[in-house]
Amino acid sequence: MKRSQDHSEHKFQQWLDGELSQAEWETFKGQTPDKAHLEEREKTILHMESWEMPVPKLSTEEAWGVLQDRIGRERSGVVPLWKKPAVMGIAATLLVLICVWVFWGRGDLQIYSPQGSHLSYTLPDQSAVTLNADSRISFKAKGFKKNRQVKLEGEAFFEIERGSQFIVESNYGTVQVLGTSFNIYSREDRFEVACVTGKVAVMIPGQDSVILKAGMATLLRSQQLVVRPSIGEDRSLEWKQGDFYFTDTRLTLVLDELKRQLDLVIVTKSPLDDKIYSGFFNRNNKESALQSVLEPMGLKYQIHGDTVLIE
């Protein structure tokens, strides 16, 4: 019985996909015991042949026009409200009260954004830095305006006021700027700098320095700096708005970012091998974020409070 059902199933799928002519299909139906069952399905299928989609507002051509408008606007650099210094100063003060741990050791000031939080901070020279989760910067507060030097662990977006040379040191290399905005990512085995406005020099010991102009980024690949376009200011703003995008990224790194942003513990029962993920998650909803990453990867999981168990 089972085999004839499988065979019927197979013939049905062929007919559905247009691989079987109507005549062949009728012949087959006449010979099989599943005829009634198949004809029920056929009725549904045939009835739907005359169905059409509801009419959308825009044709494809019109939609293309709308898209071009949208892309054009973003490219002309409209500045969102949160970047205005007044707003940022207030936000920074509040966040400082809630999330900042400040240490005084050897005259160094340390600003830390813990797992699960983002933090905006104004440096003594009025430059602004936004720290991503689990990131820290340290600098000498005294004499900062003359000697603008910051150490970074993790990821931060900088907007530097014009002035003396501004240097950001991280594990892999040094970024040097003169009035600009850029994003630096320096964690474990990944180092990436994206220049949003102005110009940035990236220096790695033992290599020629790389100059990035607005819209360019560099990534450390096999110990070499590789330059690629980084289009649109939105790239660096995304993580600040809570969106985290990945293209061809190892799943383990994506899970690390999930842990950082949502303050979770993630446990995997079986190894993830070299699973690669392309997509994004938004940090504002834990369940949606996990679904956005794990579902396309075909992984089953359970959530218990702050712990996620992946099968």
């Binding site: 199933e9 799928q13 559905l16 996909d17 247009g18 029920e40 399905r41 549904t44 299928i45 009835h47 739907m48 005359s50 169905w51 059409e52 989609m53 509801p54 009419v55 959308p56 507002k57 825009l58 494809t60 939609a63 293309w64 709308v66 898209l67 949208r70 892309i71 973003e74 690629r228 376009p229 980084s230 289009i231 649109g232 939105d234 790239r235 995008y245 293209t247 061809d248 392309s278 997509g279 994004f280 998650f281 938004n282 909803n285 949606s288 679904q291 956005s292 396309p296």
Partner: protein
Amino acid sequence: MSNFLNQADFKDTFEAYYSSIRNFIYYKCGDMDLAEDLTQETFVKLWERRGEVRPDTIKSYLYTIANNLALNHFKHQKVVLKFQNQALSQSPATSSSPHYQLELKEFDQRLQQAINDLPEKLRVAFLMNRVDKMKHQQIADALQLSVKGVQKRIRKALDLINEKIKYRL
């Protein structure tokens, strides 16, 4: 920079996938306005990342983005899809009885309802096949499933539909 999607390629990509992505989102949420908005979002995201996405994974990338955008915007509310049935809106042939026309209309309503009640994954694959006329392989590529996986979803959808329609008889 050879796998960099340029302006011309981007337009081709848009024209190739715009309506399928829009319909995909519609099948998930039943709101055509929302589907159009989120499809715009999807292509904006592709535009922003056109320097990184590999040409051979653009299709599945678009569907993943669209899927996740829908996830964030539409929280598992009841879905009401409305398809136009051409066979009903045409003036009935003089040879078919009013009774037959009524039966057809009732069947149509029951079928639309049964489809609305389907679990999302089954409904989407089924409609991509039956309304968009996408082949199993095309659906498999878009949703990153195997062909067998797609066939399984379509089969389950049909089984569930027929259960519902039979029950009401």
